[in-house]
C-alpha cells in the first residue's frame, strides 16, 4: 500500500528518506527486512498519524433553513417589487383620475366665481335692488361724536320704486 502524506507534520519529516525508498516504482528497492520494519513502523505511525491527520470534525451546519431563507428572501423581494409596482401603477391611475376631477372642479369653481362676480357687480346689485322695490336713500344725517350733535336732517328716502318691482 503506497500513500503519500497529505500533510507534512514535524514528526514525519525525519522519515522522508524511508518513504522515498518505499515509493520506488515496483517496490524493487525495498528489501523484506525493510518491509517488515516499515510495516511495523508504519502501523505504529499510521495510528498516530491518523490521530494527528484526522480532518477536523465536520461542522454540522444544517443547510436547509439557509436555503429556505434565501429562497424566501428572493420570493419576498420579487413579490415586494411586484406589489410596489402594482401600487405605483394603481396610484398613477388614481392620480390621473384625481387630476381629471380637479380640472372639473376647477372649472366648476371658476364658473361659480364668475357667477358671483357677475351677481355682485354694481349694475346687477342695483337692478336686483330695484326689482325688490328699493329706492336710493337721500342724504343721511350725521351724528357727531362725542357730543351727539346731528348734522343734516334725517329724511326717509323719497325715490319712487321701480314699476317692475315686486310689490
Amino acid at each position: 500500500m503506497t500513500w503519500a502524506p497529505l500533510r507534512a507534520s514535524p514528526h514525519t519529516t525525519g522519515k522522508v528518506p524511508q518513504q522515498q525508498k518505499r515509493s520506488l516504482p515496483g517496490g524493487r528497492a525495498v528489501t523484506d527486512e525493510q518491509k517488515i520494519e516499515v510495516l511495523e513502523q508504519g502501523s505504529e505511525q499510521k495510528e498516530s498519524r491518523l490521530r494527528r491527520l484526522a480532518p477536523p470534525m465536520p461542522v454540522a451546519v444544517v443547510r436547509t433553513p439557509f436555503v429556505i431563507l434565501v429562497i424566501m428572501t428572493v420570493i419576498a423581494g420579487v413579490v415586494g417589487i411586484l406589489v410596489l409596482n402594482t401600487e405605483i401603477t394603481e396610484n398613477a391611475f388614481k392620480l390621473s383620475a384625481m387630476r381629471k376631477e380637479q380640472v372639473l372642479l376647477d372649472e366648476r369653481e371658476q364658473h361659480l366665481k364668475q357667477l358671483i362676480s357677475s351677481y355682485e357687480s354694481p349694475g346687477s346689485l342695483a337692478a336686483a335692488a330695484a326689482k325688490l322695490g328699493l329706492v336710493e336713500a337721500g342724504p343721511p344725517a350725521f351724528i357727531v361724536l362725542p357730543d351727539g350733535r346731528t348734522i343734516g336732517v334725517p329724511k326717509p328716502a323719497t325715490g319712487t320704486p321701480s314699476i317692475t318691482s315686486q310689490d
Binding site: 405605483i88 396610484n91 398613477a92 371658476q110 354694481p122 349694475g123 357727531v144 348734522i151
Partner: protein, 667 residues
C-alpha cells in the same frame, strides 16, 4: 459517378471496433467483405415503377448506393450481381467542421454586429419614433391676468371656455351638421354652412382642416355639442374675457381681440404684463381606453404655465358705477356727443373713477362703434374755457400780482388784438370786482386784466407747472398731450383768449389735476390709475409713487379755494347748480370749445370742476360734456353735485361743520 455518392454511414454501421470510431479506424473497404450472394436482395420498387424496374433490373442493379439499389419486394431471385463498389470517397470532416464553424461564427458575428448596430447606433432614433407615438400633450392653460378695482373686486377676468371648430374634410352632410349646431351655438345655419363646406387654402392649395365656428363657448354648452358626437367638430380649450360689470369702466379697461390680445385701454397698454404663457405637460401614455393615461415612471415633461400678472386699479367699483350712471343719465337728456367725468383723490392723485359717455359693453365690443370705446377723459382735447381762470388766479396770487382781497376795475367788455371779449354777467364800467366776484360771475374782462398784469411768460410757466401741454402718463393708451402756446407764438388776440381758456388745448384729466393741485395745498400730483400689479403668485407690488411738485403755496391754494367757493355760494353765481347740501363746494364752471378739423366744432364743452369739502378737500370731480349748447353750470353742475354726493357718502366724508364766508362781489 455512382461510387462518389456512397456515404460513409453504411461503413460506420458495418464495422465499429470496440472503442473506436469510424474516424479512428479510417475508411473500411467493404470490398474485402465477402458478399452475400446466397440471399436474394430485397427490392422495393414503387408499383408504378415496377415495370420499368423489371426491365431495367439489371442496369439498375449496377448502380451502387442506397439510391441506386432500392430493395425490391419481388422475391424473384436474382443473379448475384457483379458489384463493383467504388471506394467511398470519404468526406473531410475536419475541413467541413472548420467551414461550418467559420460559417456559423460569421453568422453570429453578423447577428452580433447588427444587434450592436441596432442597440447602440440606431437605438435612440428608434426609441424616439416609438416614444413619439406614445406621447400625449396636455395644454396647461395660463390665464390672462385679471383687472381689479381698488378693493380687489373683479372688473375683468379670464374664464375657461371652449372653442368650437370644424374640420370641413370630415363633414359628410353640411346641412345636417349646420342644423344640429344652430340651436347650440346660437348662430344661424346659413352662417354656419359656408364654414362647413370643403375649401382650399389660397396659398398652399391644401384643403382647410380647421375653421373656427365659435370661440369662448361656455364649458357646459361645449359639452352639449360634444354629446352630438359629430366627428368633424373640434372642441378645444379656450379662454374668454369676461367683464362682470359689462360696461363698468369699459373705456378704461379696454377690450381684447380673439386671441385675447389687448386692443384698447389698459388691456392694450399692459398687454405684456397681463398676458399669460400656456404651459405644456407632455407624457407617455398607454395604448387605449382606460390605459390611455400617464405611465408611471415613463417620460414626463412639464413646462409650467406662466399665468399673467393682474392689475389693481385705483378705481372704486361702486363710485365708478355711480359716476358712469349719473353721467349717462344726465347726458342722454342733453344730447351730448361725448362726456367725461373724473374723480380724483387729491392727496394721492389716484383716479377713483373715470367715466366716459357714450360707453360700450366690454363683453360685446364688436357691437360698438370705435368712437364709443375711447377714454374721453384722456383722449378728448378741448379748449377748457372758464375753468382755465383758476390757473390765471393761482399764478397771479403766487406771483403777488393780486392779493386775495384785491379788486379789479372792469368794464362790460375788453378789446384784445381786434377781438372783443365780453362778460356774460356784465358790470358797469369802473366796477371794482373782487376775486370771488370774478370767479362767481366768471368775468372774462377781469381775468384778462389779471393776466395782463401777470404777463404771458408767467402764465405760460404756470400752465406748464400745472401739467398742461404734456400727457400725464396715467397709463391709458391714446392719451393726448394737449397744447399750450409759448408767449412768442401768441397773437394779439391770444392775450385775450388764452387767459379765459381759449387757444389752449387740454384734456379733462389735465384740468382735474389742476384743481386737485389747488385742493392739495398747491402740490401737483400726477394722476395715476394703476395701484399695484399682482403677480401670478399673488404677490402685490405697488407701482412707483406718483410724481409731484409744488406749484403754489398752501396759503395761496387755500385762498383760491375760498375764492372759488363763491361760485356755488353766491346766489346768482354760475355754479349754483353744483351745490350740495351739507358740504361746502369750491369749484368753477366752464364753457369751452372743441376744435375739430382745424376749426371750432359746433356746440360747446360745458364743464364743472369742483372740490369738496371746500375747507378740507378730499376729492376733486371734473365733469365735461360736449353738447349742442349750454354752459357748465346748467349741464355739468347738477351731474357734479350728484357725483360728489355719492362719492363723499361712499368714502364716509363727514359734512362740513363750518359755514362759508360772506362773499363781497364788488367793492
Amino acid at each position: 459517378m455512382a461510387p462518389k455518392k456512397r456515404s460513409g454511414i453504411g461503413d460506420a454501421r458495418a464495422y465499429t471496433p470496440r472503442g473506436r470510431t469510424v474516424r479512428d479506424t479510417d475508411a473500411i473497404d467493404r470490398r474485402e467483405r465477402p458478399l452475400r450472394t446466397d440471399t436474394p436482395v430485397r427490392k422495393s420498387v414503387p408499383p408504378q415503377r415496377k415495370a420499368v424496374s423489371a426491365r431495367k433490373a439489371v442496369p439498375a442493379r449496377k448502380k451502387p448506393g442506397r439510391k441506386a439499389t432500392p430493395p425490391t419486394r419481388s422475391r424473384t431471385p436474382i443473379k448475384p450481381p457483379k458489384i463493383v463498389v467504388a471506394p467511398p470517397r470519404l468526406g473531410e470532416p475536419k475541413r467541413r467542421l472548420r467551414l461550418a464553424t467559420a460559417v456559423s461564427l460569421l453568422l453570429f458575428t453578423i447577428i452580433g454586429l447588427r444587434l450592436i448596430h441596432l442597440q447602440l447606433t440606431d437605438a435612440p432614433a428608434y426609441a424616439a419614433t416609438g416614444l413619439k407615438d406614445r406621447l400625449v400633450t396636455d395644454d396647461l392653460p395660463a390665464p390672462r391676468g385679471s383687472i381689479f378695482d381698488r378693493n380687489g373686486n373683479v372688473l375683468v377676468h379670464s374664464v375657461e371656455a371652449r372653442l368650437i371648430a370644424v374640420d370641413p374634410e370630415l363633414v359628410k352632410d353640411p346641412g345636417a351638421t349646420a342644423l344640429a349646431l344652430q340651436p347650440l351655438l346660437g348662430i344661424p345655419a346659413s352662417e354656419l354652412l359656408p364654414k362647413l363646406q370643403k375649401s382650399k387654402d389660397e396659398l398652399t392649395g391644401k384643403p382647410d382642416r380647421f375653421n373656427f365656428l365659435k370661440r369662448g363657448v361656455d364649458i357646459e354648452e361645449a359639452k352639449r355639442i360634444q354629446d352630438l358626437k359629430l366627428p368633424e367638430i373640434i372642441v378645444d380649450h379656450d379662454e374668454r374675457r369676461v367683464a362682470p360689470g359689462d360696461d363698468l369702466a369699459a373705456n378704461l379697461i379696454g377690450f381684447t381681440g380673439t386671441d385675447l390680445n389687448g386692443l384698447g385701454g389698459i388691456e392694450a397698454r399692459f398687454d405684456e404684463l397681463l398676458r399669460g404663457q400656456d404651459g405644456k405637460f407632455v407624457f407617455e401614455v398607454g395604448r387605449q381606453g382606460s390605459l390611455r393615461q400617464a405611465i408611471p415612471g415613463g417620460y414626463q415633461m412639464t413646462t409650467p404655465a406662466k399665468p399673467g400678472s393682474s392689475l389693481k386699479l385705483t378705481v372704486d367699483r361702486d363710485v365708478q358705477y355711480m359716476v358712469q350712471r349719473i353721467l349717462a343719465d344726465r347726458m342722454r337728456g342733453k344730447d351730448a356727443t361725448w362726456a367725461a367725468a373724473v374723480v380724483l383723490d387729491i392727496r394721492t392723485g389716484e383716479v377713483v373713477a373715470q367715466a366716459s359717455y357714450p360707453t360700450y359693453s366690454v363683453n360685446n365690443y364688436e357691437a360698438s362703434k370705435v368712437s364709443e370705446r375711447g377714454d374721453m377723459a384722456t383722449s378728448a382735447v378741448m379748449d377748457p374755457g372758464s375753468i382755465h381762470k383758476a390757473i390765471v388766479l393761482s399764478a397771479a396770487l403766487q406771483e403777488g400780482v393780486v392779493r386775495p382781497d384785491s379788486t379789479i376795475e372792469i368794464a362790460p367788455n375788453i378789446r384784445k388784438g381786434g377781438e372783443n371779449y365780453k362778460d356774460t354777467h356784465p358790470f358797469p364800467s369802473g366796477t371794482q370786482i373782487t376775486l370771488p366776484g370774478l370767479m362767481a360771475y366768471s368775468s372774462n374782462v377781469a381775468t384778462i386784466k389779471v393776466a395782463e398784469m401777470l404777463g404771458p411768460q408767467k402764465l405760460f410757466d404756470y400752465q406748464r407747472k400745472f401739467g398742461l401741454g404734456e400727457a400725464t402718463g396715467i397709463g391709458i393708451p391714446g392719451e393726448a398731450a394737449g397744447l399750450v402756446q409759448a408767449p412768442e407764438n401768441w397773437s394779439g388776440s391770444s392775450h385775450g383768449s388764452i387767459p379765459i381758456g381759449l387757444g389752449v388745448a387740454v384734456t379733462p384729466l389735465q384740468m382735474a389735476a389742476v384743481y386737485a393741485t389747488v385742493a392739495n395745498d398747491g402740490v401737483w400730483v400726477q394722476p395715476k390709475i394703476i395701484k399695484e400689479t399682482v403677480g401670478p403668485d399673488g404677490k402685490a407690488s405697488p407701482t412707483a409713487p406718483a410724481n409731484s411738485h409744488r406749484v403754489i403755496s398752501p396759503e395761496n391754494a387755500a385762498a383760491l379755494r375760498q375764492i372759488m367757493e363763491a361760485v356755488t355760494v353766491v346766489d346768482d353765481a354760475t355754479g349754483v347748480t353744483a351745490r350740495l347740501a351739507g358740504y361746502r363746494i369750491s369749484g368753477k364752471t366752464g364753457t369751452g370749445l372743441q376744435v375739430k378739423d382745424g376749426k371750432y366744432a359746433l356746440g360747446e364743452v360745458a364743464s364743472f370742476i369742483g372740490m369738496a369739502p371746500a375747507d378740507q378737500p378730499r376729492y376733486v370731480i371734473g365733469v365735461f360734456a360736449h353738447t349742442p349748447g349750454g354752459g357748465g353750470g346748467a349741464i355739468a353742475g347738477p351731474a357734479f353735485s350728484a357725483m360728489m354726493n355719492y362719492t363723499l357718502r361712499h368714502f364716509k366724508v363727514p359734512p362740513t361743520s363750518t359755514k362759508p364766508p360772506e362773499f363781497v362781489i364788488t367793492a
